[in-house]
């Protein structure tokens, strides 16, 4: 057991018995799972299964009623969002949340906020290293935009971009923070087949750079191709977990998506 645990390594994100009710609805109901460092973990489930609520609990937008969230060995349960982000956790949103009046490049540079060394006093003193730092940040941002195929839109206001481009820009902004764990909430929504394929490629590169991914997604092709392990949520409970092939053939998963035989479905 200890040998197996050592082989797997300590988890990067450990969720234990996490529970959140809204009135009588158990949106997330005693969920336990872990994401290992440099792993792509997929979270799937029918609409309303509690996936987004779970992500909001992990990132500090919602507080759990019970249970624990540990990130990088620290108990971050109930921490405010900005402190959780400070631990190395970046995310995208199911409903895109960009800074619409900033340009695409500014959005990415803003994503670097936590790593930025541009304190106001240094700008007030007009020190030359401030200008150099700003130029370096813009260069890093431009490289990220290029990597995501958005280089041509660097100077365009984020709000004016096409839907699929806004999704990729949101991912670029999250990556700019160089997170240890990237949470993607339905990144492939509204993407074309080709765009989704490029997204899979991008996600699969991240573990090599030392980053882990928690991917919530409806597009099964993306989930099956990108993820090493998959957890399945249904009515707020984790009903299955395993490799993509194992999950695809799991009877409970098929029932959750298609219904049981006796329901006539």
């Amino acid at each position: 057991m200890s040998a197996a645990a050592a082989a797997a390594g300590a988890p990067l994100l450990a969720i234990e018995g996490l529970t959140r009710h809204f009135g009588g609805v158990r949106a997330v109901d005693g969920v336990t799972f872990a994401v290992r460092p440099q792993e792509v973990y997929g979270l799937i489930g029918p609409n309303g299964a509690g996936k987004t609520t779970l992500i909001n609990l992990v990132t500090g937008l919602l507080r759990p009623q019970s249970g624990r969230v540990a990130f990088a060995g620290q108990d971050v349960t109930g921490w405010p969002a900005h402190r959780v982000a400070g631990c190395g956790l970046a995310r995208t949103y199911q409903h895109i949340r960009l800074f619409p009046e900033m340009t695409a490049l500014e959005n990415v540079v803003a994503g670097e906020y936590l790593r930025r060394h541009a304190p106001l006093w240094r700008r007030l003193l007009l020190l030359p290293e401030d200008g150099r730092e700003a130029a370096a940040a813009r260069e890093r941002g431009a490289a990220l935009l290029d990597a995501l195929g958005l280089g041509a839109y660097a100077a365009a206001p984020a709000g004016s971009l096409a839907y699929g481009d806004r999704r990729r820009l949101e991912i670029a902004r999250a990556l700019a923070a160089r997170p240890r764990l990237l949470l993607l909430d339905e990144p492939a929504a509204g993407m074309t087949h080709a765009e989704a394929g490029r997204l899979v490629e991008l996600i699969r590169q991240l573990p090599e750079r030392g980053q882990a991914v928690l991917l919530v997604e409806h597009n099964m092709r993306v989930v099956m191709e990108a993820c090493g392990r998959i957890g399945v949520l249904d009515f707020g409970r984790l009903i299955a977990e395993g490799s993509p092939a194992a999950v695809r053939d799991d009877r409970r998963v098929i029932e959750a998506y298609l219904g049981r035989d006796e329901d006539g479905a």
Binding site: Y93, F99, A110
Partner: protein
């Protein structure tokens, strides 16, 4: 602004404190008040926040009338007239410089992000509440300095000078000028200060008609330039590119 004006004026009139020190105290006193006030009040959003700050302004006004030593409803008379134009220019210049450099700094990005999407800002690690409180306090310092300087410029201050009307007319500077860039409110303040004088010079009589024209201009700005005049100018500058 009222707190700054009264603090500074009381210091010079009653205690003969030197003018620079009094102005400094006029800037600090509202900050001391704003800090504990900001923490609970800034949890409110939008119109509720506006109502809370207006309410607090009324509290200050009523307090100024009733606290002994402030001159009550009659106001404070005989404030030494020592503010010179360059004093105001220096403070304004400093403020403009800070706001100019704010863009591109860590704090500038944080504030811009909070304005555009607070949830996303928090998600990138911005402690939105802390920034709001700091901004609230910084605004109080500026208003306090303005009050202190103005009190030593006009010789007299009364509690009703710093009421709701004043708050609205200052807010209008930002709305008309545009609040997205640092020179927007400057433009608005300049325009709205010059406009009544220009109307007077062109023969429009004071009173109802002038207020009406002021209002009409405001409505026009809100309808045709929702980002203020600065927003209008920037859009025009961008178009040929």
């Amino acid at each position: 602004m009222g707190i700054g004006a009264y603090t500074a004026a009381l210091l010079t009139v009653r205690l003969q404190v030197p003018f620079p020190l009094a102005v400094l105290a006029g800037g600090l006193a509202p900050a001391v008040v704003a800090l504990p006030l900001g923490v609970p009040v800034l949890r409110l959003r939008g119109v509720f926040l506006a109502i809370a700050t207006i309410g607090f302004g009324e509290v200050v006004r009523v307090l100024l009338i009733n606290i002994p030593g402030t001159g009550g409803a009659l106001g404070l008379n005989g404030i030494p007239n020592v503010t010179r134009l360059w004093h105001i220019g220096a403070v304004l210049g400093l403020a403009v410089f800070v706001f100019w450099r704010l863009r591109g700094s860590r704090s500038g990005f944080a504030l811009d992000a909070i304005r555009q999407d607070e949830t996303a800002a928090r998600g990138t690690g911005v402690d939105a509440t802390a920034y709001k409180v700091r901004t609230f306090v910084a605004g109080a310092v500026l208003a306090g300095l303005a009050g202190a300087l103005s009190a030593h410029f006009t010789f007299f201050i009364g509690p009703n000078e710093f009421g709701f009307d004043r708050a609205v007319s200052i807010l209008l500077f930002a709305v008309v000028g545009g609040s997205g860039v640092f020179w927007g409110p400057l433009l608005g303040a300049g325009l709205l200060t010059v406009l009544p004088e220009a109307l007077r010079a062109s023969g429009v009589q004071a009173g109802a008609l002038r207020l009406f024209l002021n209002g009409a201009i405001l409505v026009a700005v809100i309808l045709f330039a929702p980002h203020g005049l600065a927003g209008l100018l920037r859009r025009r500058a961008r178009r040929p590119a």
